[in-house]
Subunit: 334 residues, 2 copies
Amino acid sequence: MKKHIYIYSPSGAVRDKAAFKRGVARLKTLGHEVEVDAAALASHLRFAGDDDTRLAAIHRAAASGADVALITRGGYGLTRLLPRINYKALGKAIDKGTQFVGMSDFTALQMAVLAKTGKVTWAGPALCEGFGANDKADEADGHGPGKSLGPDDIMEACFDDMITGQGEGAGWRQLREAAPAATTSVAEKARPSMARDTFTVKHALLWGGNLAVLCSLVGTPFLPQIKGGILFLEDVAEHPYSIERMLTQLLHAGILGAQKAIVLGQFTEYKLVPHDKGFKLQTVVNWLRSQVKIPVLTNLPFGHVPTKVLLPVGAHVELAVERRDAFLLWGHHH
Amino acid sequence: MKKHIYIYSPSGAVRDKAAFKRGVARLKTLGHEVEVDAAALASHLRFAGDDDTRLAAIHRAAASGADVALITRGGYGLTRLLPRINYKALGKAIDKGTQFVGMSDFTALQMAVLAKTGKVTWAGPALCEGFGANDKADEADGHGPGKSLGPDDIMEACFDDMITGQGEGAGWRQLREAAPAATTSVAEKARPSMARDTFTVKHALLWGGNLAVLCSLVGTPFLPQIKGGILFLEDVAEHPYSIERMLTQLLHAGILGAQKAIVLGQFTEYKLVPHDKGFKLQTVVNWLRSQVKIPVLTNLPFGHVPTKVLLPVGAHVELAVERRDAFLLWGHHH
């Protein structure tokens, strides 16, 4: 189904112009009308233009009347713009049918929109890393024949589900060692049996995104005050100790305990060091489960990875878990 | 003056045993009685023992009756202990004369002690990196003859000032390009003249420490709610964009604007990348000055560097600035 997709840059400057071009071309190949914001390729220091430029770009995206407003990339730049954004205009655009899509730094805008308007935005790909993923199989770069190249099939299918309104949810399989609803102590080994971990959480508000960006909003007016929600989190290039420290902030701020479930996505591109002496991501997951009484799920296909689902941030969803299999459902029957 | 110094490990495990030994030996050489906590060299994953072990070590330090309770090192581990610490016991120890000294991860304990008891702790060196700094001039390790080795003279003099109660304050010279009390926009160049920037802030509560650790407490009960204070900040291995994002959190949380001055210490060991395109620490300082109406000072000799002053966190101090020269004063006449 042909859609009008508006491409803009609210955060970091686009450096990989080839990925940008591939992304635009890919969306056109999929049959969409692609409109590129005038400042999409602007550059000022690290940013895609100075604050005024990026702010205007966000407001142009809201005024575009597009079906989808898609960021070129994340990076850094949205948190400092938050007090100056016209949330009423964004809310109106969402009401008129514009689906705002992005991730990473975009989490800041998603949280602020949710806090200020209660409207739904979508956690999903950015243009460059998502639709602009390199689709040229080049043996010289070390990709074997089994390596997936180009835009990810699942991501594209989920994007199509979103734009057509046909999406009913997302399902995935949790990590084997990551038992949901466990109350393991740090020292305790992962339980072999997960038979009792079959449960459903109905009508809970789905929210979250990038852990570091979300934590950087704690204590500010731009983090929504969600009770009884389902909080999903991902991050990139953060060591497990840093992930744990951020989760500790959410814990001590009373945010984690107020939710009905925590869903951990992909945490990637960090480096363990010899001094960790066995302290790793699973240690953090086990610790988290010892600190909260709610289920902590793992392996949601969302994060800084090619294969990811699109998630309606601010929508009421159902979470259904049957041992390792988990489903987030937001179809019309909910 | 001979003092009783209690060495304990509330955070990361001591890996550099040689630095630990050098530190203990150095304190003895300075004439002190050094008592080493039973778990000072404990190791569990990244930590200096599991949570119970480190918690007990903190409480033993409080019960030691020592003149100084000095951490072996920072790292990570205190934030997760904060809800379980007996603040009454620490407050009582401080009343009886124990000076708690440390930095980095220790900022978490300092903030919590200030929030829960209002008592003064000291931002200062840790044993291993401070008193255990390598004092062997070894040409093979690349140190030239002009390179300072061993414990830093200024740090040791400030430590002596603290334990003898003779310290009256700390003075330093700000960076040339860093004008205090400026209201420059991001785009504006640093002002050549700083003639009007001579002012005094009297009787303001000094607080702060490591920026990342402090930010990780925002929204929790462990960050003191300080109005009209002087906030000092330092960090290590944080890129300027990350420093800016953290400052943005403090700004949007209303914390920066509620202070009388912000004093930036040393921000070290980060790597700029080509994509920064000129975005650097000074960019962040300029931006910060465009966002707040209070003075933003630079170059306080405190942080992850050898030459650092000791600062009474939670004490009322006077800040006197005469162009580039700045003084924090906490002598008896204030």
